[in-house]
């Protein structure tokens, strides 16, 4: 068995838009802080900090997080120090891996200017567009409210930078939106973000958190979205949503994903375990990660 003799390093490696990744795992934006980087050495193939916006954002008042069965609901409100301070602190995320940056704006113009700013920074290998934020010029509908909106914002960002751009889309209308992003020039698609959700504390009779659901609870939904999108576009897809074990990673890659993001799971597990579960799975089936992609037996 030639495959079994190959080093784990090469067996885990994938390539995303021409960028070599040591492992197919990427931290989902907003779920890994620079203070915790020491704990995740060797796990990820690229770095991806929390979304940055043109101006600082204070974020939403607490409570911001609540638990649900197999997941959590968050309403953080894109708290971040704004792009200039973000870039000043960016070296903290340089741990020798390709650096991806997540960007969001309130308007098309902001998205364009932000991509130009980030695109000019040599440390950054690719830009992920967080399109689930509201477009203030469209009555607060999100930028991924429909294919026309997605196409418009991706086109603006495409003109602003030559760096690879990933369009991060939400579940609703995902296949149409994915086609729109691809035709506007996105180099890859991140599928998907959290799902709208609410938690209520019946004992106190109060609404707790109205925000986005993440964690294992949303995995089958994300898997379906990835599978459907992979059948509809040519560009690589990065899976995100509920990935919690090495087997989950394999499932997303079998559904067609090139790389997979770990978010909420990293709050309740050591992501190193996820990588070693993936390695054991590969051993068992005698495959490399690169062979897994879309390799469902029909």
């Amino acid at each position: 068995m030639v495959v079994r003799e190959r080093k784990t390093e090469t067996r885990l490696a994938v390539e995303l838009c021409g960028i070599p990744l040591r492992t197919p795992l990427i931290p989902a934006s907003g779920t890994l802080t620079k203070e915790a980087l020491g704990e995740v050495e060797g796990v990820y193939g690229a770095m991806l900090p929390k979304t940055t916006t043109p101006a600082p954002r204070a974020g939403n008042p607490p409570p911001r997080v609540a638990e649900t069965y197999a997941g959590m609901v968050n309403s953080i409100g894109l708290q971040n120090p704004g792009v200039e301070r973000f870039l000043e602190g960016l070296d903290a995320f340089d741990i020798g891996l390709p650096l991806f940056v997540s960007a969001a704006g309130d308007t098309l113009e902001e998205f364009g200017a932000l991509c130009e700013r980030l695109g000019a920074d040599e440390r950054i290998s690719a830009i992920e567009l967080n399109l689930s934020c509201p477009n203030v010029e469209c009555g607060g509908l999100t930028f991924c409210a429909g294919p026309a909106s997605v196409e418009e914002v991706v086109a603006v960002c495409r003109r602003a930078t030559g760096k690879p751009i990933f369009a991060k889309l939400t579940f609703e209308g995902v296949v149409e939106n994915a086609r729109a992003a691809e035709s506007a020039g996105a180099d890859a698609l991140t599928i998907m973000n959290t799902i709208p959700a609410l938690t209520i504390d019946a004992h106190r009779r109060e609404a707790l958190v109205r925000g986005g659901l993440s964690g294992p609870a949303i995995k089958p939904v994300a898997l379906r979205a990835v599978y459907d999108v992979c059948g509809a576009v040519e560009v690589p897809v990065i899976g995100s949503g509920g990935v919690t074990s090495g087997i989950d990673v394999a499932e997303f890659m079998l559904a067609g994903a090139t790389a997979v993001q770990i978010g909420t799971a990293s709050f309740v597990r050591d992501p190193k375990e996820i990588l070693s579960e993936l390695a054991s799975y590969l051993d068992k089936v005698g495959l490399d990660t690169a062979d897994l992609m879309g390799a469902l037996s029909s």
Partner: protein, 243 residues
Amino acid sequence: MKFYGVSVEERKASGRYTVLRYRWPGLVEPGQFVMARAVGWPVTLDPFLARPFSFYDHDGEVASLLFEVRGRGTALLDRAHKIEVSAPLGCGFQLGSSSGKAALLGGGVGIAPLKILGRRLTELGVPHDVFLGFADAPTAGAARDFPGAGMATMDGSLGTPGTVLDAVPNLTEYGAVYACGPNPMLAAVKRTVGPDRLCQLSVEERMGCGNGSCNGCAVPVRSGGYVRSCVEGPVFRAEALAW
């Protein structure tokens, strides 16, 4: 986040609370906390998140937690023989700069960090008094572990009637005040102590991750916006907080 499986070495009731001990040979600072849960992945899909608890005590080898059973997470912890804990997290009380005698104020289960804090102050030779506030006599049973502490109960059944602040005869004699308890109590402590003395508060905010990654545990600060109580806190200088 990395979790370590540890055996519960001892469990005892303390008033209405539970004290649980486990071996932890690493360093622990007073005011630091752990994320803890009953049993490990993948049995933990519900409850999904680990829960934050202040260190109650640590003697260099064995750590203990003091907790109140509130919901499912703590109910499971109350029965578990094996638990999973994170390494110690957050910034604890700053002990160096205290001037003169210190007052340690705890409300309800917020008495937890005062035990390890008192131990450390004694080691440092800092004179201090402990004051505890409880709802009623049964919960006040937890005061047994604090010999010599002043006490108040809200229902007046034991000690001074009222809040922990009512149990302190003369707050002005203390150069430093350390407090932990429900946020309204901490706000009252901040008001009463005023801006001229060192006052450090251990705040309680809901947490997702416990290690700074999720931005969930936001606390409003005077300098504007929010900071994460799990990394920048959970202990803050009173004047830094915007409440």
